[in-house]
């Protein structure tokens, strides 16, 4: 198996998360010290030079996000860590928080210094209750050791962190739904603008970043933005933590330089399909990612290359399925997920996912017609164009991509009523 390059996972497994002393012995919180010494402007420049793009799914440049919040005036500003990790097929944030909670806290404090925020929130999904005490202990230890709290490193900079729990709603991973949820409301996405960078948590300028994004920041500060940018393979920048799931021999969470090919990840890292089965297809990027077929997997894993290849970079999920699986059953499963998780605020998503699910079930039963395929296509386009948030905009992707890449499966069901 190829050697991993661990940056987001730099200290996972290297220290006991209960012990801040062990973390500091590895060089922990040195990034924060250096950040405070170098000043806001230089700090944001390093993060921009790093070409660090958010790893929560939307791939927004982190340096640019921070500079907007830094430039926005506000008495109170916040840093919010999106630890809702509800995307089926993503486990990376759990691995980071379980093994190295302090790098996350350090990254949050650095973000706080960069934008002028003195308060941070970690929105932890309900399904990770075992991590609640781990994070609270880490925060407590960091306060006692002087890495959180008032006047850090003798400067004017103050920063503290609070953990709040989610309630088991996938949509709360969407940044504005998450803010609503912290504010004690139903997790329904807001209309944008205003963006959180201007009016976020409790109406204040807010930076929202994913766990992985924040956990990488201390290494960037310590080693420089150009160092991180130079790590990728070829012209690619940085690393990505991938979650490999499904019909693979070596499922798991691995960090590799961006630019590693999907085939390498599936075959070399994942070990291919178990029990001598053949690879049929793979969904990349999460439950709302594209589903591609076995002949399409030779491209480098990065945002633009994925898009060009008809795949999705997203959160770095790679869900592999072998030739014993029924593609339409997987699509039906994904639509059940979105139908269940749609918050219901807007019609294209609330009604659209239900209708997509009905149509796929009809086709699977053998009652579908060619007209149904056109209806599917139309409806998917409407949902993409008209849904309020990313959930409704992206949920038709598995349907659109399978209509293209596995069209024969649909046609077979329709023409032969599903009989092989």
């Amino acid at each position: 198996m190829m050697q991993e390059t661990r940056i987001a996972l730099r200290f996972v497994g290297k220290y006991n998360p209960d012990s801040i002393e062990e973390f500091c012995a590895l060089g922990g919180y040195e990034g924060l010290r250096k950040a405070v010494e170098m000043g806001q402007k230089n700090l944001i420049q390093e993060v921009s030079d790093a070409s660090l793009w958010g790893y929560g799914g939307a791939a927004f440049p982190t340096g640019r996000k921070w500079s907007v919040v830094a430039a926005t005036k506000g008495k109170q500003k916040y840093v919010v860590c999106d630890a809702d990790e509800g995307e089926p097929g993503t486990n990376k944030d759990r691995v980071i928080m379980t093994g190295d909670p302090h790098s996350l806290l350090e990254g949050m404090a650095i973000a706080g210094f960069a934008v002028g925020a003195d308060m941070g929130y970690i929105y932890l999904r309900y399904e990770y209750p075992q991590l609640f005490p781990v994070l609270e202990k880490a925060i407590d230890d960091a306060r006692k050791a002087g890495y959180l709290g008032r006047n850090l490193f003798g400067s004017k900079f103050c920063f503290d962190v609070k953990v709040v729990s989610g309630g088991g709603a996938y949509v709360c991973g969407e940044e504005t739904a998450l803010l609503e949820s912290i504010e004690g409301k139903r997790g329904e996405p807001r209309y944008k603008p205003p963006y959180p960078s201007e009016a976020g948590l409790f109406g204040c300028p807010t930076v929202i970043n994913n766990v992985e994004t924040l956990a990488i920041v201390p290494s960037i500060v310590l080693n420089g933005g150009n160092w991180y940018a130079s790590i990728g393979i070829g012209h690619h920048h940085g690393t990505k933590v991938f979650t490999l799931s499904g019909n693979l021999v070596n499922r798991g969470v691995y960090e590799y330089p961006r630019g590693i090919t999907l085939r390498q990840l599936i075959e070399d890292v994942g070990g291919g399909c178990p029990d001598g089965h053949r690879l049929l297809g793979v969904q990349t990027g999460g439950a709302s990612g594209n589903i591609i077929s076995v002949d399409m997997i030779d491209f480098p894993m990065d945002v633009e290359d994925c898009a060009a290849a008809g795949a999705t970079f997203g959160t770095g999920d790679i869900m592999v399925f072998d030739d014993t699986q029924d593609v339409l059953e997987i699509v039906e499963n994904l639509l059940e997920f979105f139908t269940h998780e749609s918050c219901g605020k807007c019609t294209p998503c609330r009604e659209g996912n239900t209708r997509l699910l009905q149509l796929i079930r009809k086709i699977r039963r053998g009652d579908g017609t060619m007209e149904d395929l056109d209806t599917l296509q139309d409806l998917c386009q409407t949902m993409k164009d008209c849904s309020l948030c990313g959930l409704g905009q992206a949920s038709p992707t598995p349907v659109i991509s399978t209509l293209k890449n596995f069209r024969n499966v649909y046609l077979n069901k329709i023409e032969r009523g599903g009989k092989e």
């Binding site: 995307e87 097929g89 709040v164 997790g187 499904g246 499963n333």
Partner: protein, 165 residues
Amino acid sequence: MQEESCQTSVDLSRIAAIAGRYKDEPDQLMRILLEIQSCCGNSIPREAATVISSVTGIPEAKIWGYITFYAMFSDKPRGKYIIRMCKSAPCHIVGAQAVAQAISEYLGIAPGETTEDGMFTLEYCECIGMCDTAPAIMINDSVHSGLTPESAVELIKSYQQGGAE
């Protein structure tokens, strides 16, 4: 059904006490409700919204709207242990259905139901972040993964014998 007693006045004062501790902190509503749910037999009685409202000043309808939005809350009494069986795709394609069926058959209840002795409530849930060792389930706050139909039934048995917590 067990834990009906959560609707007695004693428990209402307990609910008021929990809500009082987080008064004037809007970011703590989730915590208030999770605590109330865990001390009220894994469900939130209708009266709780009235009590929380009178203590915190948040309108009752807003609280009830909040409770009904989040999947982890229930207004119906549930068992001592809630078994949440993941049905999302990465679990589904590696045998989650067979695991769910084995648990369901062993306990003699369908998802959404509670065993007669009030021990277990069976529910489906979406991804619990254990896809790399799927199939996975949660029993209250504990996560169990890498399950087979047989090992899942053994696991439930260990809860019945009081050996696991």
